[in-house]
Symmetry: C2
Subunit: 524 residues, 2 copies
């Protein structure tokens, strides 16, 4: 069955069993479920009326045993430690050594730090993966058909919806926390390796049957204000190190000096200023990649010149936007993830920088997330096609190596979604006829900016009119595609086997696309 | 059937239908449900994916209409505005004028400010009341059998449990908020009349089908950090005034100068210092009443003398404990309600004063509330009997005029629960053979301090030993009762009709006692 972005969704994918029995549907276009009602799952909780019970257990292994984790269950993790994370590997090692098998990992994201999981997949111990990001060896083995069930890839907002709606049921959540007290009140600040916020882990703490907080810095009760509340936590484990602080947060994302990136960033800023939403009190999100991050630099003089201020910025936060706030150009930062140490320092030390939950950030199935109120979002892409569909998950070789993250959430929510990407990368056209995998549907994407010109989605005549009025030149996206193909050639189609190895869920829980097992390249 | 505090619980009460179908049981003793599991209700939520939808509606009446409120439904309110609240009356007036009937009010508490509701009860429009406090005209009409169904009275922690477990299903929550943005992110600070925290309303916002925030101070989006999260809010109404700021919080609770109160307070402090829990890092809650509040004054020199500090204080907060914090004698205040303007000023301006939810404070059915970790709580009482059962709900005439509040929650949780009360009040013995109504069971009460001596619950031999060692004199509680009766006489039994007018729920959802319709006094 073809969905509304023209992707064939096979029965095999539509018949996947979700934990709540909900039937998958193909993607129907943006806002398909808007205004409908859902009944959230009712979490199970143990009654802890006894004042003298301690939640501290001596080791991760003891905690696993106490939770009753057994074959076939689902465990969850968050990704605030990014590439410095030790938690996933420490916990999975113990699970494997305990002989527990048929485990599904439901993480907010997974990365290169989790290469050891690839082996557990090959051994058939890990049989399910639900995540936003999938990279490194894990992406490779999944793309080669080694995971028993298709991986389910979701946006950050889509994950909260899936947990709350019960598409995935978390049996045990393992939540790494820079600090915790003995009751599991946990914070992202004040430990050996801070991560700024714990936003993605909140839904796990609320919906998992059992919740284990793992920390390397036990602090006095009560650890307030808490990001993870002790009322949702069963056990607390103290370990030597929850992660490598140097990798938990890299140093401030360096502002690019690449002239191509700077030119694209400047054009993004010009587009923004040509629209009616660039006025005092506007809202904004941008990514941490080179050209996206550089947009901040070009916005600053334009805001000063017009004497306007940004009311608030959200998203994965970098030091760059914090600097604008400290200069008085941004009112508030509402933070779901920190990309660098400067951002962490800012939420620790400065005013008007607040933590939010992933549900508040981007959940499409609550009563209104922050993304709904975004004026502008600037996002990157691996590929964009002539229907404005974006791919951020599969590389040019068809292998899983990315993460939808907040991309589809902010793209749908923002009044103006701008994708910024070079026209070609190496020998590959970024603007193409059909992206390998649709991760953000074209009906949510408004403008594409490349180093060879920009194109506006024809559905957004209002933006076209603004740019024309402001004298900002734009072309048809087909022209960008042709230009790209003229530079690097039209690529041969990737070759796939039949097996579906991953499902790309739209944020509303329909299926946007599937990824099939990669077939070794054969000369035709 | 008699429950474990010796109260006869009639079938009529045990057969009351709860919203989730759960069957009432008689109270079985403290910790009866500890270690068991409950499945929380799954709230229903509308999916607000559409960025352009506004939540602001022009009036309370419009909001009521939009929520679909109809006959037989349950509406909820919080009591952070205390006697200055305008919300309950404003909303109920519109509901009545719209001709909607058979309404249950499920409030965190109700007070004298809500006298107009008494008339709606008499008119048969309000047919159910679920609350902690019931006073004034409302207490009177309920005690005289005018409410169609028995009122259900719960502790603050028990209410959260009841909502989460689904004993009561809130169709529409009306949440008064000192400030809100257009998406319903609401705070208790920054408005025309601040109330400090919005702790009791959080569970309503999470579990009600529809949530309406009513404010008199609309602020820019996002109103952060929010106590009530916009992701749970359907509609926002702006009105002229949500309450009378002078009554929302009275001026600082004045420290009593009554020598009898001071003597009792000093004795409470002496008892505390005689126990092993009075050491550096102890935790404490005390009430806002004369002798309870005065305990702070006597603790101060004892803490200084022994060079120890209180780690944290919780509860309904007064300026008195905030002063101790500012002097460096209390580490943190974790706040569920503010009793005076000084406490509100403290959470607005000072450090180490945090808001918590009612669930974090006292819910017996989560994974561990603050009350579980209390060392000491000092509480008042209307009556205490020789089984240490406490009554804080019915007056000596049998009429409803009080509130269990956090009394049963803290009494069960604290290592040492001290009740402080004069031996007689006017012509009534406070220490008696059988309290009119059991609101806190005797198995949770450890020490009773009166102006004629103190008694320790014989179940707490450990505390008896401590007091003996410290040379603190104590007597059997029967002696206190006899002394009281010798002073004011043994009262005649109250006379009741058969009709059950109120259920006193234990915090775990079993039935502690019932209140029957009052019978006009007849000479025998």
């Amino acid at each position: 069955m073809k969905n509304s972005v023209g992707r064939e969704i096979p029965e095999e994918a539509l018949n996947i069993k979700l934990a709540n029995g909900r039937k998958y549907e193909p993607y129907q276009g943006k806002g398909y479920r808007d205004g409908k009602y859902i009944k959230k799952q009712g979490p199970t909780t143990k009654i802890y009326e006894n004042p003298s019970e301690s939640k501290i257990v001596p080791s991760i292994r003891d905690a696993i045993i106490k939770t009753g984790l057994k074959d076939g269950m689902t465990v969850s993790f968050h990704h605030h430690f990014r590439n410095g994370d030790y938690i996933v590997n420490m916990v999975m090692k113990e699970i494997v050594e305990l002989g527990i098998k048929d485990i599904t990992i439901a993480a907010s994201s997974l990365g290169d730090a989790h290469d050891p999981v690839a082996e557990y997949i090959e051994q058939g111990i890990v049989t399910g993966i639900q995540t936003s990001g999938i990279r490194g060896k894990m992406g490779d083995v999944v793309s080669h058909g080694k995971l028993k069930t298709p991986a389910i890839l979701r946006s950050h907002g889509g994950r909260v919806r899936a947990v709350e709606e019960g598409d995935v049921h978390i049996d045990v959540a393992f939540i790494g926390a820079p600090t915790s007290d003995e009751y599991g009140n946990a914070r992202a600040l004040g430990g050996k390796g801070d991560c700024g916020v714990l936003s993605y882990a909140v839904v796990d703490s609320e919906y998992a049957d059992k919740v284990v907080v793992i920390t390397d810095t036990l602090v006095d009760y009560p650890n307030f204000p808490a990001s993870i509340h002790g009322i949702n936590v069963d056990y607390v484990v103290v370990v030597d190190e929850i992660g490598n602080p140097k990798k938990i947060a890299s140093a401030a994302a360096r502002m690019t000096q690449n002239p191509r990136d700077l030119m694209m960033a400047e054009n993004v800023a010009k587009i923004m200023t040509a629209t009616p939403w660039f006025k005092d009190g506007f809202s904004f999100q941008t990514g941490a990649g080179g050209p996206s991050l550089a947009v901040n630099r070009f916005l600053e003089p334009l805001m000063v010149e017009r004497n306007i201020k940004m009311a608030w910025a959200i998203g994965g936060i970098t030091g760059s936007i914090c600097e604008l706030k400290e200069k008085g150009l941004v009112g508030k930062i509402i933070d779901v993830q920190d990309f660098d140490t400067n951002a962490i320092d800012d939420i620790r030390n400065n005013k008007n920088h607040y933590e939010m939950t992933a549900s508040e950030y981007a959940n499409p199935a609550n009563k209104g997330a922050f993304v709904n109120k975004l004026d502008f979002v600037v996002l990157a892409a691996l590929e964009v096609d002539t229907d404005f569909n974006v791919n951020v998950i599969t590389g040019s070789d068809g292998v899983l190596r990315g993460a939808p993250g907040g991309h589809p959430d902010t793209a749908e929510g923002a009044k103006c979604c701008i994708i910024v990407t070079p026209l070609v990368r190496g020998r590959m056209a970024t603007i193409c006829e059909h992206v390998v995998t649709v991760t953000t549907p074209g009906d949510c994407v408004d403008v594409v900016v490349t180093d060879y010109g920009l194109a506006v989605n024809p559905k957004r005549q209002d933006i076209i009119d603004c740019l024309d009025k402001a004298g900002v030149k734009h072309v048809k996206i087909e022209e960008l595609k042709e230009k790209a193909y003229s530079m690097v050639g039209r690529p041969d189609d990737l070759q796939w086997k039949d097996k579906v190895v991953a499902i790309l869920e739209a944020r509303d829980g329909t299926i946007l696309d599937v990824v099939r097992e990669i077939k070794p390249y054969e000369d035709k």
